[in-house]
């Protein structure tokens, strides 16, 4: 993908932080409002894809290599499966929600019924949301970036 005009680049640079913040909000509030790691991750990844479209794949791949993205993705996946293993260690069962019920970290049980709840609830669910969110952001962006870079390189007659 080649670079687009200056207007597009400026607008993208302005819009990018808003899209990013919105995506992070969706990830962080996954256990309270509609959304979660996948949805928020998709929002952030599309913000990154917007950058890619506006600034061109060569500029983007100079800023961030796909190898580094791949490492981040591994980290997200390991965090997720690690939380599952922590369930095995602390709660005796794989994928146990071992944090629920304690009183400090994400452990508060909300009042049954409707009502606004605290963000400090739901045990491991918010942590898993973050792990999955990281994975989805990096994963989707890596797919788009690699495909865009490969196709532009080809067009320049490198065959």
């Amino acid at each position: 993908m080649t670079e687009m005009s200056k207007i597009v680049r400026t607008i993208t640079a302005i819009a990018f932080p808003f899209a990013m913040i919105y995506g992070l909000y969706v990830i962080a509030h996954g256990h309270l409002t509609p959304g979660g790691g996948f949805q928020g991750g998709a929002v952030v990844a599309s913000a990154c894809a917007m950058i890619l479209v506006a600034f061109g794949s060569k500029w983007t791949i100079d800023k961030i290599k796909e190898k580094r993205l791949s490492v981040f993705e591994s980290v997200g996946a390991i965090a997720f499966i690690g939380l599952a293993f922590f369930g095995l260690i602390f709660g005796a069962v794989f994928f146990n929600n071992f944090l629920v019920g304690n009183d400090y970290l994400f452990g508060i049980i909300p009042v049954v019924g409707s009502g606004l709840a605290d963000i400090n609830t739901a045990g491991v669910i918010p942590l898993m949301n973050f792990a999955v969110g990281l994975k989805v952001i990096v994963g989707l962006f890596a797919i788009v970036l690699v495909m865009a870079y490969a196709t532009t390189n080809y067009k320049e007659g490198k065959k």
Binding site: V71, S74, I81, A84, L88, V93, F94, N96, N97
Partner: protein
């Protein structure tokens, strides 16, 4: 000997964790990564072996032992919300096959794939494929089965396309992913139909609730069609020779496992999910089992015939073996169909035992042949049979392994294929003699096809261009040696295997009532 109760979860989680760690480790050192992958798969095979030992010793003919593991909670709640792993003898039997195949493949890769780039992704995908296959085999939840089916198909599709500079590999991979995507979506639609009616996803719960309404019939047909398509039965078999023939040999070995995992899906759907209503009369007073059985048998026979005839015409080594694999899958389906059509009789059970025994024999024999083909490619860089000749002099061990492989595939006496094929012939003869005759004739023709290969590739004068051909490296010989040892062991003591492994598996498949009570009894 007892294993920790979380072993089934570890069997899937260990290769997954290994796959997530592989990209990180391969940044340090390539050799370290290879050792790490072999260690992970070795640990995994060990876990599978321990669990298998546990299950086979605890199973008795009257009450097959089922290992249940609940994700996320200590006890089963009713209704069953959480995902359950339900590991019975059948699941663990297939898991043994898969882990043997992948373990051998990864040892073989050490030398075979050394020349390639992108090996970190190769090993990652191989581990993911293993996790997917094992997940399909151990899970007791329909939707979880679908998820692992997708992992398996995406990973194997990517591995088929590993040699991206070859147009044929990419084309084969595209065919495979289209077939897989359609199959998986059909499976998902069938799951949705069942979910919409019974509001359950657990196999045992669904099996308990199924009424055999019209929607259930549609779901059954969709599930069987989709999974049989992925197992490579004839009307939809064309992807199989393409992808088997164009993937690296190690990947082909893993693909054999993936195909057998789909076959396991067919067995699980028919015998467990729809197990409660198999003997009930459906349309025109024909019981359901006869219906499905006679639906499968013609397809199986056509698979055998097409596979053998196409194998006779091939000049490409790996495609020839791939068509032989189609024929072998036909034998398995023939046995399953016979077992269904004659359910409840003694020979129906024999057929089922023959079919189950043939699953592992086929995996080992066909796998060995693919490895031999890979070894020849490694030495000569040649797939076409017309170009080969006189290799026996330079590659002694490979030649011996090849001879063992073809005799085993064709079902010649001292090897393992004989025992299982004999059971299949025996039982199909009692159902319908023509079927048995066709099966025997095709087996002989298959031997003829392989004798042709043997003659043109290994016999004859030494060709000048293969003057410098050397025997393949030790790690590849060792990998083939593992398979040969198991083949010879199974061939020499078929009764031992039949008594201790195949019989519990057949018990597990046929005793549906126990499956339900074992899984749901704790609740």
């Amino acid at each position: 000997m007892n294993v920790p109760e979380y072993t089934p979860a570890l069997i899937v989680a260990v290769p997954l964790l290994g796959a997530f760690l592989t990209p990180l480790i391969s940044r340090i050192n390539d050799k370290l990564r290879n050792i790490f992958v072999i260690l992970v798969l070795g640990l995994n095979s060990l876990l599978v072996g321990l669990l298998a030992f546990n299950i086979f010793t605890k199973s008795t003919p009257d009450s097959p032992f089922i290992y249940t593991y609940i994700f996320g909670a200590k006890d089963v709640t009713l209704p069953v919300v959480r995902i359950l792993f339900e590991v019975d003898a059948m699941s663990i039997f297939m898991a043994i096959i898969a882990s043997i195949l992948v373990f051998v493949a990864v040892i073989y890769s050490w030398s075979f794939m050394k020349e390639n780039t992108g090996l970190d992704k190769y090993y990652t995908l191989l581990l993911l494929l293993t996790a997917g296959m094992l997940g399909m085999m151990l899970t007791g939840d329909m939707f979880n089965f679908f998820v692992f089916l997708e992992i398996t198909s995406i990973a194997s599709c990517a591995l088929i396309a590993f040699w991206t500079n070859k147009a044929e590999s990419v084309e084969a991979a595209f065919k495979y992913i289209v077939i897989s995507a359609i199959g998986a979506l059909f499976v998902l639609f069938a799951i949705a139909l069942l979910y919409g009616q019974y509001d359950a996803l657990n196999i045992a719960v669904l099996s308990n609730a199924i009424q055999y309404t019209f929607l259930d019939k549609i779901a059954l047909v969709l599930l069987i069609v989709a999974l049989a398509m992925k197992a490579g039965i004839v009307p939809m078999h064309m992807w199989l020779p393409d992808s088997y023939g164009r993937a690296p040999s190690t990947v082909t070995l893993a693909l054999v496992g993936a195909t057998l995992a789909s076959l396991y899906g067919v067995l699980r759907v028919i015998f467990t999910l729809y197990g409660n209503i198999l003997l009930e009369p459906a349309k025109f007073d024909i019981p359901v089992n006869m219906f499905i059985g006679w639906l499968i048998i013609p397809l199986a026979v056509i698979s055998i015939i097409v596979g053998v005839i196409m194998a006779l015409r091939q000049t490409d080594f790996k495609r020839l073996i791939a068509f032989a694999a189609v024929a072998e899958i036909g034998y398995m389906f023939l046995a399953i169909g016979t077992g269904l059509a004659a359910m409840g009789t003694a020979y129906g059970r024999t057929a089922l035992e023959g079919g189950i025994f043939h699953i592992i024999n086929d995996a080992l024999d066909v796998g060995l042949l693919f490895l031999v083909a890979g070894a020849i490619y490694y030495a000569t860089k040649e797939w076409s049979l017309d170009e080969m000749g006189g290799l026996a002099r330079n590659m002694k061990y490979t030649t011996i392994f090849f001879v063992i492989g073809i005799l085993a595939v064709a079902g010649m006496p001292p090897f393992n294929g004989f025992a299982s094929k004999l059971l299949i012939y025996e039982s199909t003869f009692q159902l319908n003699p023509i079927l048995a005759i066709v099966a025997i004739l095709c087996s002989i023709l298959l031997l003829a096809a392989f004798v042709k290969v043997f003659h043109s590739a290994f016999m004859g004068p030494k060709l000048p261009k293969f003057k410098d051909v050397k025997e393949v490296p030790k790690s590849m010989l060792f990998a083939m040696g593992i398979l040969v040892c198991i083949i010879i062991f199974f061939g020499l003591f078929p009764n031992l295997v039949l008594e201790n492994i195949v019989r519990p598996v057949a018990d597990a498949l046929l005793s549906n009532a126990q499956y339900l009570s074992m899984v749901l009894g704790g609740a």
